[in-house]
C-alpha cells in the first residue's frame, strides 16, 4: 500500500480479528418522555442511567420533573428506540424510509417526530404493526405528508408508563420557590454588596 496520506499509512496490512468488548462498567441508558400539560403531546426530555426499567422511571421523575409542571412521564430502554435516517431539512425523513409489505393488525407502536434541529422529539401518534420495520412503513403512510427531520418508533410494551394511581406523584407542596436559583436573588445581593464596598472607599 503506497500512499502519501499518513492516515492510510497507519492502517495495518491485516486487521486483527475482532475481540468481544468487555461489558460496560456503568448502567445502561433509558430515554425519558414527559407530558408537560394535560392534552399536550409527550416530548423527549432526556436520558437517565439506571440498572432497570423500573429504577429508570423512579430516577427520571426527580431528574426531569421536580421543578416544572408535569402530568405524566414514561421511560424506555434506549435500545428499544428505533431511529430513522436524519435529514438536514432539504428532504423529508419519511422519504428515506423504505416501504415494506404491510400486514393487518399487530401491536401498538408509538411514533415520534423531530420537527426542527435542536428541538425535542414529539409524540406524533400510534400505529399497529408486527415489527419495527412495519411500524416505520405504516407511520410513513399515516404521517408521512409532514416534513420531518427524523422519526423514532418504540414498541408500546417496551415502555414503563405512569400508572393511573401514580398521577398524584406531581401533587406536591406548592411552596418550592426555594428550589430555584432566582429565588435567592444573588445578583441583587452582589450589587448591594458592591455598592456598600464602593461607598466605603
Amino acid at each position: 500500500m503506497k500512499s502519501l496520506d499518513p492516515r492510510v499509512q497507519r492502517l495495518p496490512e491485516e486487521l486483527p480479528p475482532l475481540q468481544p468488548k468487555a461489558p460496560l462498567d456503568q448502567f445502561g441508558s433509558f430515554e425519558v418522555f414527559v407530558q408537560p400539560k394535560e392534552g399536550k403531546p409527550f416530548q423527549h426530555e432526556g436520558i437517565v442511567h439506571a440498572p432497570s426499567l423500573e429504577l429508570a422511571f423512579v430516577l427520571a421523575k426527580e431528574a426531569f420533573t421536580r421543578r416544572f409542571t408535569c402530568t405524566s412521564l414514561y421511560v424506555t430502554d434506549t435500545r428499544n428506540v428505533m431511529v430513522s435516517p436524519t435529514t438536514e431539512g432539504n428532504q423529508n425523513a419519511y422519504d428515506l424510509i423504505p416501504s415494506v409489505t404491510e400486514h393487518q393488525g399487530g401491536e401498538p407502536f408509538e411514533v415520534y417526530h423531530l420537527m426542527k434541529r435542536g428541538k425535542q422529539h414529539l409524540h406524533a401518534g400510534t400505529v399497529e404493526a408486527n415489527s419495527h420495520e412495519e411500524a416505520f412503513s405504516k407511520a410513513k403512510a399515516a404521517f408521512g405528508s409532514k416534513q420531518v427531520f427524523n422519526v423514532w418508533v418504540v414498541r408500546r410494551s417496551d415502555i414503563r408508563f405512569t400508572r393511573p394511581e401514580e398521577q398524584d406523584l406531581w401533587l406536591t407542596l406548592p411552596e418550592k420557590k426555594f428550589r430555584d436559583a432566582s429565588d435567592y436573588k444573588g445578583g441583587d445581593k452582589l450589587k448591594e454588596f458592591l455598592e456598600r464596598q464602593s461607598s466605603k472607599s
Partner: protein
C-alpha cells in the same frame, strides 16, 4: 382537644422529618450516581419542606417561629426517633434507613388524613404525592439491590440488622397515646407499627433479604423523650451554624 397531646405529636413528626431531611441532604454531591444524587437530594428538600409545614402548624398553636424552633433548641429538646439521627455511613445503610423510615412516614401521614385536627388532615392530603414518590423510590431500590448480587444482598442484610432496633424506636409511645386515640387525632403508634410491619414484609418478601426476628430485638427508645445518641448534637451544631452566628441572616 388536648393541645399538649397534639403539640407533642406534631413536634415528633416535625423533628423526624427535619432530622432525616438534614441527614439525607448530606449525600448531596456524593450520591452513588448523578441521577440518584439528584433524587435523594430532592427528597431531602421535600422532607425539610414538610418539617417547615409542621412547624408552621405549631406556630399557629402558639409555639415560636419555625426557624427559632428548628435552629435554637438543644438535642434534649428534640423529639425525633434515634433512627433519623444516625450517621449516613455507606449508601447501603442510608438506603435501608430511608426504606424503613419512609415506609413508616408514608403510613403515618396517610393515617393523618383522617385526623380530627383539620389543619393536619389538610396538610396530610397535600404531601401525599411526595410520600408516594419517596416510598416508590425506597421500595424499588430495596427490591433491586435485595436480589441483585451477593455483595448487594449481604450489605443490605447487614444494614437491615443494624437499623432494625432503631427502626422499632420510631413507634415509642407518647405519654398522651390514650388522648390522641380517644380524640381521633391519631390512631396510635401500635396501629402504625402493625401496618408498617406488614408493609415492609411485603417488600422484603420479594427479595432475598431476611427480616430479623423481632422477638429477639431490644428496641432502642428514648428519642421521643429527648434522650438521644451522641450523633444528634453535632448535627444540630452544623445545621444551625449560620442561624446562630447571625440570627437575621438571609440567603
Amino acid at each position: 382537644m388536648n393541645e399538649q397531646a397534639l403539640k407533642e405529636f406534631l413536634y415528633k413528626m416535625a423533628d423526624d422529618t427535619l432530622i432525616i431531611g438534614h441527614r439525607n441532604s448530606e449525600w448531596t454531591g456524593m450520591g452513588p450516581i448523578l441521577e440518584e444524587d439528584i433524587a435523594f437530594s430532592s427528597m431531602a428538600q421535600d422532607q425539610i419542606g414538610q418539617s417547615l409545614a409542621l412547624f408552621t402548624l405549631l406556630h399557629q398553636l402558639g409555639e415560636q417561629e419555625p426557624d427559632t424552633v428548628a435552629f435554637m433548641r438543644n438535642a434534649n429538646q428534640f423529639h425525633n426517633c434515634i433512627l433519623t439521627e444516625l450517621p449516613n455511613q455507606e449508601y447501603d445503610f442510608s438506603i435501608v434507613r430511608h426504606f424503613l423510615y419512609t415506609t413508616s412516614a408514608t403510613l403515618r401521614w396517610d393515617m393523618c388524613t383522617h385526623s380530627s385536627y383539620e389543619p393536619l388532615a389538610q396538610l396530610a392530603k397535600k404531601v401525599k404525592g411526595e410520600l408516594r414518590y419517596h416510598s416508590l423510590h425506597a421500595r424499588t431500590w430495596i427490591q433491586q439491590l435485595g436480589s441483585a448480587t451477593e455483595e448487594s444482598i449481604s450489605r443490605l442484610q447487614r444494614s437491615l440488622e443494624l437499623a432494625m432496633p432503631y427502626a422499632l424506636g420510631i413507634f415509642e409511645e407518647s405519654p398522651f397515646e390514650k388522648e390522641l386515640v380517644a380524640q381521633h387525632i391519631f390512631e396510635g403508634e401500635k396501629r402504625l407499627m402493625e401496618k408498617w410491619l406488614s408493609a415492609i414484609e411485603e417488600v422484603l418478601g420479594k427479595t432475598q433479604l431476611v427480616i430479623p426476628d423481632l422477638k429477639l430485638i431490644q428496641p432502642v427508645l428514648g428519642g421521643r423523650k429527648g434522650q438521644h445518641s451522641e450523633h444528634l448534637q453535632p448535627l444540630l451544631d452544623e445545621m444551625s451554624e449560620v442561624f446562630r452566628t447571625e440570627p437575621g441572616a438571609e440567603w
